[in-house]
């Protein structure tokens, strides 16, 4: 038990940051992914290259952007162009190492719905923003990190709309569908860290957040969750918390 405290948002941001290796090209989105990418760049991955689909590459963020189109993403950028350059020249050529995703529904193979709730998407019960670049990142990044609110209804047996393809039906179904590389690597949720089995591509519980148990996480998951060998999620270090609070988000734009 640490003698210092941290919030759930901080635990998730740190866990997200730790998914980024130094020197990697990171396709970041708004919110937790930006907290994570910025923290990674200020800690263990100073040479990670943060790119935004709206057109900037290698930003050295000084202030947390509220959007991918925020003027703040221009800070220290090596190149500033448009969506076409980022998607065509970098993402589609397989040059993005890790991309971040999130959504309203996620299934056991890491397929994500951020389009709408309801069996018929043409008459949805609830409509969301839509794919944005999520489908493209899911298809073309070398690996993806999924950020999720952990609730039963958000991890159902089947999702209403596959906005962002994960491992599809598992096994080699992703390759068979025409996706030559990539796929979900990890899900960082409000309760746990989940990864995917090498062959089946089915999700399993890698770790449960401090204060929870593997079974508690499984109980809050809509599909049956493989919890064999799950451990506790490593907590943030004091240094990571310091950077997060004092350097990354002193304005408390996203941090709670």
């Amino acid at each position: 038990m640490a003698d210092y405290s941290y919030t759930l948002t901080e635990l998730m941001a740190v866990t997200a940051a730790r998914q980024i290796k130094d020197g990697e090209v990171v396709f970041a989105g708004t919110g937790l992914p930006m907290l994570g990418a910025m923290l990674a760049q200020r800690s263990h991955a100073p040479d990670c290259c943060i790119i935004f689909e709206a057109g900037t590459m290698a930003s050295q963020l000084a202030h947390l952007p509220m959007s991918v189109g925020d003027p703040r993403v221009m800070r220290g950028a090596a190149t500033a162009a448009g969506l076409s350059e980022v998607f065509s020249y970098v993402l589609q050529t397989g040059r993005v190492d890790v991309g971040f995703l999130s959504g309203a529904q996620i299934d056991r193979f890491g397929n994500i719905n951020s389009t709408s709730i309801g069996v018929d998407p043409r008459q949805p019960k609830v409509r969301f923003s839509g794919s944005g670049g999520a489908c493209d990142i899911a298809c073309l990044a070398q690996r993806t990190v999924i950020i999720a609110l952990h609730e039963k209804r958000r991890f159902p047996e089947t999702i209403d709309y596959v906005t962002s393809p994960g491992w599809l039906e598992g096994g080699d179904s992703r390759q068979k569908a025409g996706l030559r590389w990539g796929g979900p690597d990890v899900i960082v949720s409000t309760k746990a860290v989940m990864r995917f089995r090498t062959n089946t591509k089915a999700v399993y519980l890698a770790s449960y957040h401090p204060g929870l148990s593997a079974q508690a996480v499984a109980d809050d998951t809509g599909f049956s969750l493989d919890i064999a060998g799950a451990t506790e999620t490593p907590i943030p270090t004091e240094e990571e918390l310091y950077i997060l609070r004092e350097v990354v988000d002193p304005e408390r734009v996203f941090l709670k």
């Binding site: 709206a54 189109g69 448009g82 969506l83 076409s84 839509g130 298809c139 596959v162």
Partner: protein, 322 residues
């Protein structure tokens, strides 16, 4: 050289009911908002919108009842509101027609149009319902030339039978309206910062209307021709509209306006509150100058001014919005 400068009202009046149109910008930056407010005041109806990641520019147009059909990838203000409130309601109430694509797919469609091609291929979308399903029926597509007869088409590469791509149909709009930092009377424009897909959107439109923060001399922009991304002869009209993107940001000029955005989003899902917003900020003013007064005038605008060192306002008070 030509003088293409006209008034904002005259420019907006060129757009008829039922027009196909795209607006520049991305979620929270460089939308031609002043132009959009004019369209609402003009009570334009049945517009067909094409975009990748619009934000409140589309949301207020949709809420004001100006829009019949949209083709898009995303509609929200990101951290200010992760779903466009009027977009969501219009869909859930069946008040609008739409087709879902991804950002890459929409940008590719604009690119195809800009390049004079019928389609362009991409490697994205495989395995997704963006590829497998469509919101517009064959009948709706067949009945309306403003919409492509097919959403997309999957094909094998003639150079490698084991390789397949998705072909996306080109977009051609009657109008593209983009808001930029600098433009000349002759139609040479300067994008500062991210260019988003403004270049491609402009090049696939029959008529390009540019609204600009600043009108500068042709010689000034020609000193750095490498930075002029749009041939001047593709631009038809230029309007001088300072703070033309408020409440959204313009890199190097001003930041987004968190207070104004909160006012909009706090009320947008409530009919009365949304009508109040329209009455106060759109119908209640006669033009952009009056709008800038109503939102707080010089004092508010000065608080948004960009710090030249950053291109935005580093001390801007930003509420936590989630």
């Amino acid at each position: 050289m030509a003088n293409k400068i006209i008034g904002l009202e005259d420019a907006a009046a060129l757009v008829p009911d039922g027009a196909t149109i795209s607006f520049g910008g991305f979620t929270t930056q460089r939308h031609p908002m002043a132009f959009i407010y004019e369209l609402i005041r003009l009570k334009r109806r049945n517009l067909y919108l094409f975009g990748h990641s619009p934000g409140g520019d589309w949301d207020i147009l949709i809420g004001a009842g100006c829009v019949k059909r949209v083709e898009l990838a995303y509609e929200a203000d990101e951290a200010f509101n992760t779903i466009g409130p009027r977009w969501r309601l219009a869909v859930q109430r069946g008040e609008i027609e739409w087709e879902d694509y991804s950002n890459f797919a929409m940008v590719t469609r604009f690119n195809a149009g800009a390049m004079g091609l019928p389609f362009m291929p991409i490697r994205s979308l495989f395995g997704s319902d963006v590829l497998a399903r469509q919101a517009l029926s064959e009948e709706q597509r067949a009945a309306d030339p403003r919409t492509s007869p097919k959403k997309l088409h999957v094909m094998e590469s003639p150079f490698d039978p084991n390789d397949k791509v998705v072909l996306l149909p080109a977009i051609h709009t009657e109008f593209a309206v983009i808001h930029v930092q600098k433009a000349t009377a002759n139609g040479t424009v300067r994008f500062e910062g991210q260019s988003f897909a403004d270049v491609q959107q402009a090049l696939c439109a029959d008529m390009v209307i540019v609204t600009a923060e600043e009108i500068v001399e042709e010689a000034e922009l020609r000193r750095e021709p490498e930075r002029n991304l749009l041939p001047y002869f593709t631009v038809k009209h230029v309007c001088h509209v300072p703070f033309g993107s408020h409440p959204y940001a313009v890199f190097n000029y001003y930041d987004y306006d968190p207070r104004q955005l909160k006012t909009y989003h706090d009320g947008a899902e409530d009919e009365a509150a949304f009508q109040q917003y329209l009455d106060k900020f759109v119908y209640g003013v006669n033009n952009h100058t009056e709008y800038l007064e109503v939102i707080g005038g010089a004092e508010r605008l000065n608080s948004l001014k960009a710090d030249p060192e950053f291109g935005y306002s580093p001390n801007l008070k930003r509420r936590r919005l989630e």
